[in-house]
Subunit: 192 residues, 2 copies
Amino acid sequence: MGRPKQFDPDVAVERAMGVFWRKGYAATTPQDLVDEIGIGKGSLYNAFGSKHALFELALARYRDSQAAWLEALLDHPGSARDRLRGALEALVALDLGDPDRRGCMAVNTAAESAPSDTGTADTVRMMFARTESAFRATVEAGQRAGEIDGGRDAAAVAAWLLATVIGMRVLAKTDRDGTQLRRVVDAAMGAL
Amino acid sequence: MGRPKQFDPDVAVERAMGVFWRKGYAATTPQDLVDEIGIGKGSLYNAFGSKHALFELALARYRDSQAAWLEALLDHPGSARDRLRGALEALVALDLGDPDRRGCMAVNTAAESAPSDTGTADTVRMMFARTESAFRATVEAGQRAGEIDGGRDAAAVAAWLLATVIGMRVLAKTDRDGTQLRRVVDAAMGAL
DNA sequence: CTTGTTTTGTACCTGTGATTCAAAAACATT
DNA sequence: AATGTTTTTGAATCACAGGTACAAAACAAG
């Protein structure tokens, strides 16, 4: 059945994800990719077809891992408010801990490519929808537990939390010391 | 004093702003720019030096016009809450009214270029700071008027409003019918 | 009307982006 | 060992990005 691959495509997608994440789609060159992945151009195009196809794989992988990460965080034991605060603080720590300050790959992609690239826009929308759903479930749990005002529209609160998080992840790219981000978390939790 | 320019540099910067705004920095070519501005390449490079220099001018123009627009909105008569809601709704209308769904050029730039391009990152930070200041002044006015809880940290609330707006402008690029955006406004005002 | 200055249009150039191709290499099957 | 299939390597391709060079053109000053 032919010569076996000398590299793991999953690893290659993951490395590609790192490059696209840091540099953005348009600014990433095939040379950047082969340098990072450690394979030849022929192998890359044989395996993935095009830069854009590889990007879609990388973005889908980002979406899945990121969404799972957030969902796991919100699924922790504890009160709904604590879980929400914990998730926001974890996001702040994640963004501030990244020496490259890449922010969120989905947000970056939305800003760079949507709506002209409908394929990636769909993937981004999908991730936003998953995030919003996770927030909504937590908010509704908080309402049932009496921690959050039941009169509020949970769907609207979830959309607002999503917007807050997206904004934070953009701010993470320009905020140097993180005070701005921490303020956002405090004010958001105070407003909840 | 030499041959006079056959084009208005201000108009040229404004048109360049439109192209960069729609396509992003990396994806915009000098050819795109001369096509849109309607001048030759020689004139473009003679007048502006480089693609990047022109981008900085375009971004600075965006920052000034956008910040002034928001400040004027928040400076309207009426209660602080009404002014805040009015500003958010105006932003929603602005974003949904754009057939290209370009969102906010500063946000797009932050996502695409910060923090690797420190020059543009500074311009973006400057615009964020102006926006945050305008929000803060409005929030403080609301606190003095008793419309907003005086116990809240106005700076934190302003940062949180900034994050909310940034998030909305990213969502504007993927949200098709605008229901998501309107929900964000409702929930944010309800939480204030 | 000459001179000096600045702009303009066109041609040009170098590098690289994205992709393809040919041929050799590494397997499985028979 | 011969064959068929798939991958790898590395060169080659082709267009275009980003910018430069230069001569002609359009002005002001004297």
